[in-house]
Amino acid sequence: MSQARSSTAEDEYNGERHVYEPHRAGLPPLVPYFRELWRRRTFAFELSRTSMHAANTDTVFGQAWLVINPLLLSGVYYILVDIIGGGASKADPGAFFALLTSGLFLYYYITGSMSAGTTAVTQGGRLILNTSFPKMLLTVSTVYTAFRRFLPTLIVYFGIHLITGQKVGFHLLWLIPILIMATMMGLGLANLFATLQVYFRDTASFLPYVIRIWLYLSPVLWTIEMAKERAGKGGQMYQLLLTWSPINPMYGILGAQGEVLVGGTSPSWDLLAYGFGWSALILVAGSLLMMSREREFAVRL
């Protein structure tokens, strides 16, 4: 079915000449694809703006809700883990609260991109049936929306950072590459799950379970130091958790962020390497899957 693609540099989307040839199971020509994705980026921003407007996220109270919701969540987890659960933070409850909050905010940025991205294609029905455009624009738009929803929480976090007396300095610039990695991972996951959702319409209903379990397995409600300490005391589950952590794509990014924000240092290279490796892998794999399948979306919607 998937025959050789056009070997010439003819452009599938761009310009005034379009050539369509079979590549159903293969990839579209990549250079024109990304060039066109870039050229039509305004669409992604506009879609994000209008959907935030439709969801009233751009009002004062809409923005406030974006902050109150995760704050309440970190309050709940703080009570659960630190107060009822016997205390992860014997030494410094403030530092633990800062770590918990920053971890939750970043975790929900990544998984928020993923869950909003999952339905991006199936909700774009009419547009997909009527217009030829790179479908990744839809997931780029949801990730951009997730980023805009994440920004106010970042400001709130810095309030907590200062109140709990965490260090301020140039090491905080490490947050930039960490956020880039989180965005790469969010987009990769969005592409992956948006494609799966076209084939299995219940993918989105499994996601809340995935997100919850993944949260417990990631260093958000527990710290790497705490796990090491408890593993040292013979805690078998903690030993298992630490052994398998490197295969958790969130481990590197969240661990590195914890070291920067609460540890007050540059992140360790192994965490950065895990973080970058996993983000790049997920971004490439998710995007390739979507690009190789997107011409079939119109038939399956």
Partner: protein
């Protein structure tokens, strides 16, 4: 069949489109897993277009007729680049504007204005170009008062009028229209057909699918007749319509399609 000429606006060469139709109403992972034990096939491969070749010279209007399930909409979508051909090659020279059966808006929670902007941006127009066209579109669709209301509040007529207004006002080099002329009331139909005639006079290339044979006769320079994914005949609209009407009257059994 004429050979594919270099100067054609649309050139379709031996195009096949196969669908893998999923027999499950709503494909889910749960269904897939629970059906694993049963050896029923839930996917059927269906040849929607079977070796179709034709070309449309610049400035010509090509009509496409055929019964339901003939592959007309599939052909439109393939030419618009929305569906990939499974085999063959399609070449389109010019900016394409599509007006397919399902209309323009994709998000009914958003206003008409937002849908028009998003549709235009997705189609590759710039914000400035859309802004320039915007007044013309809303005036043509005659729904100025509703442009800032969510599209879910639109009647089906308003919906179709807006879709038509967008497609014809985007200054396309090539206009692909599927069943759209039946949109709206008598007044709008007249307006729509006048606009179409105007576009024809501006030497725009068009590909028109319609069950309204009168429209095909009136607008088209040439027509093709599709049946079950195959191109049965190509020629002057009158001749093709006559053959198609005869076929409809006597039915498939009484007539051998190869006769044409």
């Amino acid at each position: 069949m004429t050979s594919l000429s270099q100067g054609a606006a649309i050139s379709v060469k031996d195009v096949h489109v196969q669908y893998r139709m999923n027999l499950q109403k709503n494909p889910t992972l749960k269904n897939t897993i629970v059906r694993l034990g049963r050896r029923e096939r839930t996917v059927r491969v269906f040849e929607a277009l079977d070796g179709v070749s034709f070309d449309v010279p610049h400035g010509k209007v090509m009509g496409v007729i055929g019964a339901n399930g003939a592959g007309k909409s599939t052909l439109m979508r393939t030419v618009a680049g929305i569906l990939a051909p499974s085999q063959g090659r399609i070449e389109v020279n010019g900016r394409v504007s599509t007006l397919l059966a399902l209309g323009v808006g994709f998000n009914s929670a958003l206003s008409g204005r937002e849908n028009v902007t998003l549709g235009g941006l997705a189609a590759g127009l710039s914000r400035a170009e859309i802004k320039e066209k915007y007044a013309e579109i809303s005036a043509f669709a005659e729904i100025e008062d509703f442009m800032d209301m969510p599209m879910r509040t639109y009647s089906s007529g308003m919906y179709s009028r807006l879709a038509f207004a967008v497609a014809v006002n985007m200054d396309p080099d090539i206009l692909i229209i599927d069943e759209a002329l039946s949109a709206g009331d008598a007044h709008f139909k007249k307006k729509a057909s006048d606009k179409m005639a105007e576009l024809v006079s501006k030497a725009r290339t068009m590909l028109v699918v319609s069950h309204a044979l009168g429209t095909i006769k009136e607008l088209c320079d040439e027509a093709i007749w599709l049946h079950k994914g195959k191109l049965i005949r190509r020629g002057e609209p009158d001749e093709i319509i006559a053959a198609y009407t005869k076929f409809l009257q006597v039915g498939e059994d009484a007539i051998t399609l190869e006769d044409f």
